[in-house]
Amino acid sequence: MDYEVVIGLEVHVELKTKAKIFCSCSTAFGGEPNSHVCPFCLGLPGALPVLNKKAVELATRAALALGCTVHKTSTFHRKNYFYPDLPAAYQISQYDKPLATGGKITLSNGKTIGITRVHMEAEAGKSLHQGDDILAAEYSLEDFNRSGIGLIEIVSEPDIRSPEEAKEYLEQLKAILQYAEVSDCKMEEGSLRCDANISLRKRGSKELGTKTELKNLNSFRAVERALEYEVQRQSEVLKSGGEVVQETRTWDEARGITSPMRSKEEAEDYRYFPEPDLMPLELEEGWIEEIRSQLPELPRDRALRFQEEYGLNEYDSGLMVSTKEMADFYEATVKLFPEPKEVANWLMVEVQRLLRSSEQEIQESKLLPENLAQLLKLVKDGTISGSVAKTVLEESFATGEEPKKIVEAKGLSQISDEGQLREIVASVVEANPKSVADYKTGKGKALGFLVGQVMKQTRGMANPQLTNKILKEYLEQQ
């Protein structure tokens, strides 16, 4: 039996405001527990919400960047449930009249994934379970610093057809939200979180199969792996004639499996009702248009421009726009060293390697666009060889020092002086009579060996093209 995979994603993103969405407490990450709290975000009786204008602006900007229709009127509801990290026992969210609906994200293969809705809500507090996990914990500790930070929930249509597509959707979504400066989107700090719904159906069928909901997905890689596992698990259940049970399953990163979470009888009965303390949110058309006009160039548009303007291919342009900072770094370097493909290659290979091994983002490293451009100029004018350039890059990356100064200080300039090279070539040839004889009898490898010897003597500083030329001339004369 051939099955089609149907995936929908729900992404929660913390809005980058200074104050919380309904009160004036700080949203700063970290800090002493329960030090960014007030009667409202502690759920104390009588405290009233007042909506943060910036939160509305950022949510609107996100919705517009995702191609959604932003509604002139939207309303707030209470979602009721008991959990220790939810002090009022309800979350203020949006229900039947969300901020925005009907957007899309275009994947690199041109396929579009629909976005059902974008709505605003308030974050819960944070539970620290005192034990190995929530089941083992005898008790838990609650910190409400996070309680009441503004969130947007972005719900996709069930248009995603594979775990790889899910990962790409998330990468694109994250890039768009970062470009729009809506959120930091740091999964490790919890400012971006993702839950996934997945079901299988017979290929060609229009009806949706029974879905499971996956939680505890702590990285994009985890989302992909958990979905891959679930495709396998559900198809085995169906092939053996069984039925998929509708349930919430949690991803176990260490064991690489999903397992059912204990179901609560009251689950999914949130008794939504209109939030009596908040009036409908009315947005003026002019304000929405003003926000739209301030949207920056978004990643996909930028990638297309990079292809057109700099001649990059689809793959390279995708990597160059993966974060706004990388794209800015790339363009700043190209401005100073106008060989766009060369710059992209260095960023994708050597710089990427250094970023990965130091676990940094480009903006966190000490490397500057002017220093990368200077380095590439030194290679181009023959001052240093490509291999020396890698060493200089490492140093400039670690210290922020100018490549020129590193080359001077360490005497790394390439030897391009013909007279000096001739002397070295002569001594190498003299010391290796056998290789000279091999060369004469037409053994091509001998030349390579002799070039290697020159490099060894000059600690790699000899200009390779020049060395080759001089060595050949010298051998012919023998």
Binding site: T17, P33, S35, K53, L135, R271
Partner: protein, 97 residues
């Protein structure tokens, strides 16, 4: 909407209210009466009428994104029955089966 004992018990459970057998019976009757009264509104044709959110036309008031001093940790925890490491201590979240 029809109300019966099961619905009352379910709602009580969701609201974490412990009610006795007699109370369940009593509330079923009382809520049924209240709902029957409210049902009278259904006699009106509300096609094309927007829900009234507030009797006075009002819209959300927005605040600027400014952080203000709020409670200290000590004040925040003052009424907590149990505290540890600057946090509210709460009982086991998921009951063992």
């Amino acid at each position: 909407m029809s109300i019966n004992r099961e619905v009352v018990e379910h709602v009580a459970k969701l609201a974490k209210l412990a009610i006795s057998e007699e109370e369940a019976e009593q509330f079923t009757n009382e809520i049924a009466g209240i709902l029957a009264y409210a049902e009278k509104l259904n006699a009106l044709d509300t096609t094309g009428v927007d829900p009234l959110i507030s009797p006075v036309p009002m819209q959300a008031v927005l605040r600027d994104d400014i952080v203000e001093e709020n409670l200290s940790q000590q004040e925040a925890l003052a009424a907590a029955p149990e505290v540890q490491d600057g946090m509210f201590k709460v009982p086991r979240i998921i009951e063992e089966e």
